[in-house]
Symmetry: C2
Subunit: 274 residues, 2 copies
């Protein structure tokens, strides 16, 4: 069965639209350079904003911008009426991404990558959760897929996806295994997974022989090769062996976008409570 | 083979003694109430301080103390010449442990439980690491037990031990599985572990049939029943099947104490750099 992220995302957004429509929210996206994938992702965010009547403030800097100029922009966005601020990755090496993320007011940190929000997550306290991790949990919930007591294997340990989703799943009482590039015999672990979450960006890393029959497969990875998109999972071969599976595209991607809208609304509520 | 925490701890402390001896360091321990286990642990810390010529400042409050009074004490310890501040758990329910821990200057937070230090750990940045987790890594290192690429199973997900040790192991390239009270079929996971870390406080939870032959067994748990100490591992039955094993007492306990001394020295260095 296909986990239809596109459909669920549209449901969430149509619910949110009523709440958000007249609030005059603003999303600021900071881009440094002209990375092609970033352009695609930023365009998706722009479309989201158009759909929900959110002001979209795209701040695009040249690659050789100084850290100070970006910090100054963040300081001013922190002070003005902007609801959410997002730093589009990747950024060039001369600039410290963590420093910028921590400069964003945690109540406007719709990516959930500020240390305050990271700490809230590990401390089991409410806070803004990274969009992809949040979207995966929402998707599992919408399909009534139980998490508590399940053996969940996460492949990938990035700050953006692997680590936050592992923490969320642990909080929801899953038994969580984190695998990565240094894992020996990856299949030994993936074969045991009730729920397998692949977040590596390696095309078709997960094949049919590596999954348990009737496992739930969540594919976070996206690689673009010769203009075509591939997930971490060899979808065509895995789909009949799994019980549920996300397609690429149309699975986790739209859920990430829906979560961004939810985070923006949460940011609005947090700031209103001030 | 026994992982002799007592011996390694003494080696570490004798090295540290030379560095620390003339520095006039101070450790402040805050206790609320009169919990018997706390008394035992505090006594161990007092002995450590005597041994290394560290001033020991034991601040003991009655159970019905207000949160404000403890916060005021922390504020004054943050400002004075105190090197390290430690909040002995458990504390009564009317007081928020996290709030107190976050009030401690992170450079004096020798328990590593301040949000700044927690975040440094997940962000792979230097910081003060919780003593037990640090002691386990040191013990494995001293016995040249490889961590990278190993299948490590951690039983227990506490903020004090389970979570920090999982993060440290992941940083050191282990494949890490976190099990807990909601894990179904615990033995299925423990049987696969190259290194098993038990941190539940449940007497003899881990039996011989639950471990792989030649696994490395780290026993963090301590339960006191009728005046006798028990670990999480059924030591007598497990010891011949494992390759390395920590005894209780004399394994992880002394390593925790040695790590506290190391953290105190680190706190001194951090404050000196100011």
């Amino acid at each position: 069965m296909i986990l239809d992220g596109k459909k669920i995302s549209e449901e969430i957004l149509s619910d949110l639209k009523e709440k958000i429509n007249k609030l005059n929210l603003t999303l600021a996206v900071i881009q440094i350079g002209d990375n092609q994938s970033s352009n695609v992702y930023i365009n998706q965010k722009k479309k989201l904003c158009n759909k929900l009547n959110i002001d979209f403030n795209h701040q695009k800097f040249p690659l050789d911008i100084s850290e100070k100029e970006v910090l100054d922009l963040i300081d001013s966005l922190n002070k003005d009426k902007t609801t959410g601020i997002l730093l589009q990755l990747p950024i060039p090496n001369q600039i410290n991404a963590e420093k910028l993320q921590n400069r964003i007011n945690y109540k406007k940190d719709v990516d959930g990558l500020n240390d305050v929000n990271k700490c809230n997550l590990i401390n089991n306290k409410p806070g803004i959760v990274p969009c992809t991790a949040k979207g995966i949990i929402t998707l599992l919930n919408k399909y009534d897929i139980e998490i508590a007591g399940k053996n969940v294997v996460v492949v990938g340990r990035s700050n953006l996806v692997g680590k936050p989703i592992s923490n969320l799943l642990l909080k929801k009482d899953a038994t969580v295994t984190v695998c990565h590039s240094k894992t020996k015999d990856l299949a030994k672990f993936t074969l045991e997974a009730d729920i397998l979450i692949a977040a590596t960006g390696i095309k078709h890393l997960i094949t049919s022989s590596m999954i348990r029959k009737d496992a739930v497969i969540i594919d976070v990875g996206i690689s673009k090769i010769d203009g075509k998109l591939y997930g971490d999972v060899d979808f065509e071969n895995v789909k009949n062996k799994s019980s549920y599976i996300t397609p690429v595209p149309g699975g986790v991607g739209p859920m990430t976008i829906a979560s961004l809208a939810e985070n923006l609304y949460e940011a609005y509520i947090l700031q209103k409570e001030e």
